[in-house]
Amino acid sequence: MSRLRLFIPLLVFIALALLFWRGLSLDPNYMPSALENRPLPAFTAATLDGASISDTDLRGAPALVNVWATWCPSCAAEHAYLNELARRGVRIYGINYKDDPAAARRWIAEKGNPYVANILDPSGHLGLDLGVTGAPETYLIDAAGVVHLRHQGPVDERVWQRVLQPAFSTLENGASGR
């Protein structure tokens, strides 16, 4: 009987551990994008190459939209992996966020260009419409320009394998099946 009493601390701990386990899966940092399952906001902007681009130009096939800036070291960290994804044939658009275009051009020249096109957003207005909370951030859009996923923070092999690629493949298969 009194031996059983000694199990009380263990039971309390197990209850707490279950709570933590549940808590981990909740991910308090997850912030659904205001745009999830809604089309990209309409915009017309200049690209890094000086051309003009609008939201409709991003349609046609599933793609990643990567928000980046030269002032953002995590963007530097993820850049090599974006190059790798581009080599594998993933379409990536960049949004150069609150940045200096000249610095951005130097950056692309130095580190390689994984982007199909780079949308300039020096004022951050497009970012605001998108609900960007920081850089880097990456959005997954489908062929119709609808946002399916948003990832905050750098994209690396793990994020790609676990988060982006599964959704990306579904979209691609859906697109080819259509």
Binding site: S2, R3, L6, F7, P9, L10, F13, I14, L16, A17, L19, F20, W21, R22, G23, L24, L26, D27, P28, N29, W71, P73, S74, A76, A77, H79, A80, K111
Partner: protein, 651 residues
């Protein structure tokens, strides 16, 4: 090259930790003395290699090796060398390496200082510490490797250390805190070793007491430093926010304080054994829990490290193994009953029991408040936060009761004290408590305040009971001549209790009597706060090593128009990062009051938003914390710890 060397040394240290966990255990089980004895060189070897690894990372920081990702994201060439060094632990990966270094340090300290322990006991303790080390090594190597390089894109400049962390307080705070947190692993390992061997006796309590005290004193100092840092560096004059990270360090402190006192009972009287073991497990578990809460991202807060659910899962699994395992062992092996209680309500045992109950309830209160948001969201009831009023409401009665018990406890005798002699000893303290409680609010502020009366009364109570205790001791031992013979343990207790009184008085009185105003001021304006007049003289542009700042200059005059102090408050803009603005407060410290000015933001037309504070007794908080640490340190010099082997039964 050096960076790879560091990584390699860490892997070797991991191997040694594995051996430290396994070999002595096998030695104990198989009765091979040589294997048990190997615990000592293994623990020292592990420490040596972790230290090499730490030194390599420090080298990378000091030489601005930005090819190391950690250095690139947390340091900068402009950073003063001292902060480059401390930047090492201003981030998740580096701080885990510091954690590991300290853990290995404690275990080699047990190996070297614990020479008088029976070889089997030492083997058991070091084996448990080895297991903990294995867990943390795996955590660092698998999820938080600080030595990752970022080839081929090596940045030319690092991103800089968060300016909030560029401060002497933050250089010292984490190492102290970790020395405390991790130090409790020693008490934990002793407890598990004792459960394992079935020898949960007074010798166990005597062995683990100094280690517990050492960890406790570091944690006390660490928490004090953190509070002091928050006060002057966050710029807004707060000294405790009930933030999850603060709570994470406070809970082990509460449990550790309870442990310290229950070990005293176990050592002297052989009672509370099962309870003391549980507290030892609880204290270290709460340290681990703190790590989990801070690093899993399950709760976020000021100091939150970059969080990662994978790390969270790892720490949770580790927590499950360590805490679940030790509590299972406890349930199966703890002694069921300590026999007849053998003490009366008026005994030191009873007073220490009250202390334990109050401290554990206080700890549970903090735990509940910290976890409530998690519980609510796990039940899908919405997102909540628990405000500081909750904690304050709980702590006032709990700490008041604790202070009452704390006054009586040292005056009581073991087993039973006579009610008459207690009454005689308590008459003066009770009277002085009443007089001060009534007199203080009127003499200090000119009007009644119940909270201030309570605080002042309890402070007087603690002081007077300590004096009464001293008198009693001296009378028993033959007058003042006995003064040098009272022993370090006694003086340690006195100093630590005085420290508590200081902290309690500081917390109470500064909360009650602090005065602050947010005002809009232009150069030449003045504002009156209580008995002080703050005048805004001018702002000037100044340049620091890695920032530029607007410096506001103020003079403070007292009622009679004398100039009391000249204060400089800065608004700093750190170059290396966009938008890293920091408020550097101007503080005139004093024993009885601080004057505090911080610059808010410029509001067009040359005026500034300015916050001025008058904070009476705020220093007492930290004086108290330092005294508690000093008290802990004093007890370590007590005679009986110097030659423990003399008192040990031969086995």
């Amino acid at each position: 090259m050096i960076v790879e060397l560091g990584h390699f040394a860490l892997i070797l240290a991991f191997g040694l930790a594995l051996a430290q966990a396994a070999l002595p255990m096998a030695g104990v089980l198989r009765g091979v003395r040589a294997w048990s004895g190997a615990a000592v060189p293994l623990a020292c070897g592990q420490f040596l290699f972790v230290l090499v690894s730490f030194a390599c990372l420090a080298h990378a920081f000091l030489t601005d090796d930005f090819s190391v990702r950690l250095v690139a994201t947390n340091s900068n060439t402009l950073l003063p060398a001292w902060y480059k060094f401390s930047a090492l632990w201003g981030n998740h990966e580096g701080s885990m390496l510091l954690w590991l270094t300290i853990l290995a340090g404690w275990s080699s300290a047990v190996a070297l200082i614990g020479k008088d322990l029976p070889i089997e006991m030492r083997a058991r303790v070091l084996s448990v510490m080895g297991m903990i080390a294995v867990g943390f090594h795996l955590f660092v190597l698998l999820t938080s490797n600080p030595f990752l390089r970022s080839f081929p894109n090596v940045p030319e400049e690092g991103r800089d250390l968060n300016p909030l962390l560029q401060d002497i307080g933050l250089v010292m705070h984490p190492p102290m805190l970790y020395l405390g947190y991790v130090g409790f692993s020693v008490a934990f390992s002793f407890a598990l070793a004792a459960l394992w061997s079935g020898r949960l006796d007074t010798a166990w309590a005597r062995w683990s007491r100094p280690w517990t005290t050492a960890a406790w004193l570091f944690l006390s100092v660490g928490i004090t430093l953190g509070s002091w840092w928050a006060y002057y560096e966050l710029g807004w004059g707060g000294w405790w926010f009930w933030d999850p990270v603060e709570n994470a360090s406070f809970m082990p402190w509460l449990a550790g304080t309870a442990l310290l006192h229950s070990l005293a009972v176990t050592e002297k009287r052989g009672l509370f054994r099962s309870w003391a073991v549980l507290l030892a497990i609880m204290t270290f578990s709460l340290s681990l829990l703190g790590t989990f809460l801070v690093r899993s991202g399950i709760l976020t807060s000021v100091h939150a490290f970059a969080t990662d659910p994978e790390r969270g899962s790892f720490v949770l699994a580790f927590l499950g193994v360590v805490v679940g395992g030790s509590l299972t062992l406890y349930a199966l092996r703890a002694p069921q009953s300590s026999g007849p209680a053998g003490y009366s309500l008026l005994s030191r045992e009873a007073a220490l029991l009250a202390n334990n109950v109050l401290l554990v309830v206080a700890m549970a209160t903090v735990l509940l408040g910290t976890l409530a948001p998690l519980v609510v969201s796990a039940m899908d009831l919405g997102r909540i936060s628990v405000g500081p009023p909750y904690f304050n409401l709980m702590f006032v009665p709990l700490m008041s009761l604790l202070a009452v018990a704390m006054g009586v406890g040292p005056l009581m005798r073991w087993r039973d004290s006579s009610g008459a002699s207690l009454r005689a000893m308590l008459a003066v303290p009770a009277a002085s408590c009443l007089v001060i409680a009534i007199a203080f609010p009127f003499t200090y502020a000119g009007h009644w305040h119940a909270g201030a009366a309570l605080t002042a009364g309890l402070t007087a109570w603690l002081a007077a009971t300590l004096v009464a205790g001293l008198r009693q001791r001296l009378r028993e031992r033959g007058g003042l001549r006995a003064l040098p013979m009272l022993g370090f343990a006694y003086w340690g207790m006195v100093v630590a209790h005085v420290g508590f009184a200081f902290s309690m008085a500081g917390a109470g009185l500064t909360s009650i009597y602090s005065d602050e105003r947010d005002v809009r001021m232009s150069a030449g304006d003045s504002v009156t706060l209580g008995a002080y007049e703050f005048s805004f003289l001018r702002t000037r542009h100044v340049d620091g090593p890695n920032y530029s700042a607007e410096r506001g200059e103020f003079t403070v005059k007292n009622v009679s128009g004398e100039r009391v102090r000249h204060l400089k408050a800065e608004k700093r803009d750190y170059h290396s990062q966009m938008g890293n603005v920091m408020t550097e407060a101007g503080i005139a410290p004093g024993f009885l009051r601080d004057l505090y000015v911080s610059l808010g933001e410029p509001i067009g037309d040359g005026s500034w938003a300015v916050r001025v504070h008058h904070k009476p007794f705020v220093r007492w908080l930290w004086i108290g914390g330092v005294l508690m640490g000093a008290g802990g340190a004093l007890t370590l010099f007590d005679r009986r710890y110097r030659r423990p082997s003399a008192q040990q039964p031969v086995r």
